[in-house]
């Protein structure tokens, strides 16, 4: 079955150039970046990591005040405890992520050639658990988000370093993510790009649409909205939790967290922010 999938995706890649949709990630990145740096010519490139606050001066002050006593801090601490707590077999997450304390988030997601798929940090966390005989964690919030927040926090300051390998297989993943970003879906017929590329900086009702450039640098995020929805006030959520929310808002059925669809999207989406500084976890409305 896996072999068939490999052959099919390889075939697709052979056909793709003929159909005139040959992907060129580096050129994509240049165009993507140019769109935002021209649209928001007064915003320094690195400032896009601050998401909507890079283009919305009015709410920036309030947001910066939140950062004085960041609500994500206790969850980073929880992640720290989890990270260093021994599994039943005595090992810890450090056995899978030896460099986590120095920062590793900037290298995720990556394409695993042996496995033929994109591996995200959250996927790797659960695989580490499995390897050590532990049950997997849920992908959207809770402990997974805390661990992810801790690792993101430790990765602050590193520059995004996602590599798109030029194998047909990895390009198929990249293309799928790129297509997800630009394709309209759901009853409202909107794409990620409609809001966060073409209309970034515009207002949807009272909310300013954040630019897609710099989105991924500050995940996971603590959202006030999620905090209010949680009995314990835990507002932490992963990137795929947010993807699901976006899909639902355009009235499309969301994909599962860590589905091939969302991992593809993360691969494309994160690559677009390569070179931008990791500053997760972030605080958002």
């Amino acid at each position: 079955m896996k072999k068939v999938a490999v052959i099919v995706s390889a075939l697709c890649m052979l056909i793709a150039p003929l159909a005139g949709i040959a992907a060129n990630p580096d050129q994509d990145l240049k165009n993507f970046r140019k769109h935002f740096t021209e649209k928001f010519s007064s915003v320094p490139l690195q400032d896009f990591t601050n998401g909507v606050y890079s283009v919305d001066k009015a709410s920036r002050e309030q947001w910066e005040a939140f950062e004085d006593f960041p609500p994500y801090e206790i969850f980073v601490d929880k992640g720290n405890v989890l990270f260093n707590k021994a599994f039943k077999n005595g090992k810890t997450y450090a056995s899978c992520f030896p460099k986590a304390k120095k920062g590793i988030k900037q290298n995720y997601p990556f394409f695993d050639k042996k496995r033929g798929e994109v591996v995200t940090l959250e996927l790797a966390i659960n695989e580490c658990r499995k390897k050590n005989g532990e049950k997997p964690l849920k992908y959207k919030k809770g402990k997974m988000a805390h661990l992810s927040a801790y690792i993101a926090y430790k990765s602050r300051g590193h520059k995004g370093n996602v590599k798109i390998t030029s194998t047909p297989e990895s390009m198929a993943w990249y293309d799928r993510g790129k297509k997800h970003f630009y394709a309209k879906r759901g009853q409202l017929n909107m794409s990620c790009a409609d809001c966060h590329y073409y209309n970034a900086g515009n207002k949807i009702r009272a909310d300013i649409l954040s630019p897609a450039l710099g989105h991924t640098s500050h995940f996971p995020v603590y959202r006030n909205k999620w905090s209010l929805a949680s009995a314990s006030g835990d507002g932490m959520g992963t990137l795929h939790r947010r993807y699901g929310g976006c899909n639902k808002q355009v009235r499309a059925k969301p994909f599962k967290a860590q589905s091939k669809e969302y991992r593809s999207l993360e691969y494309f989406h994160t690559f677009m922010s390569n070179g931008l500084t990791m500053n997760g976890p972030g605080i958002r409305k």
């Binding site: 994509d28 394709a183 309209k184 009853q187 009235r251 499309a252 669809e261």
Partner: protein, 107 residues
């Protein structure tokens, strides 16, 4: 035995006839039968399966179909058929959308 055969024949005929009546819009039909609902449900499931295959299912289609099943359970086949048809149309629109967006990329 004879009775049973006749009954099956009638049911089949009814399904076929009401199936034809469904074609187009039976939303405003004064009455609907369980057979009408079954026909509509099969069509809706087929359509939503195609949308799922295209990775393009809309958010509320499943919910609409659940509501349809609930109405059918209560014997309100008119509402059930109406909702199943709505879910089917959503599936069809989602499939059309996936085809329309097959070559989506930067403008």
């Amino acid at each position: 035995m004879n009775h049973a055969k006749i009954f099956v024949g009638i049911t089949l005929a009814t399904v076929l006839l009401s199936g034809c009546a469904n074609y187009g819009s039976s939303d405003n039909s004064a009455t609907a039968t369980k057979a009408d609902f079954n026909t509509a449900l099969i069509a809706a499931n087929k359509s939503l399966k195609a949308a799922a295959h295209a990775n393009y299912v809309w958010r509320d289609s499943g919910k609409i179909l659940k509501k349809a099943a609930k109405a059918a359970k209560k014997g309100d086949f008119k509402t059930a058929v109406k909702l199943a048809n709505k879910a089917k149309r959503q599936g069809d629109m989602a499939v059309a959308q996936s085809k329309d967006q097959a070559t989506a990329g930067p403008q």
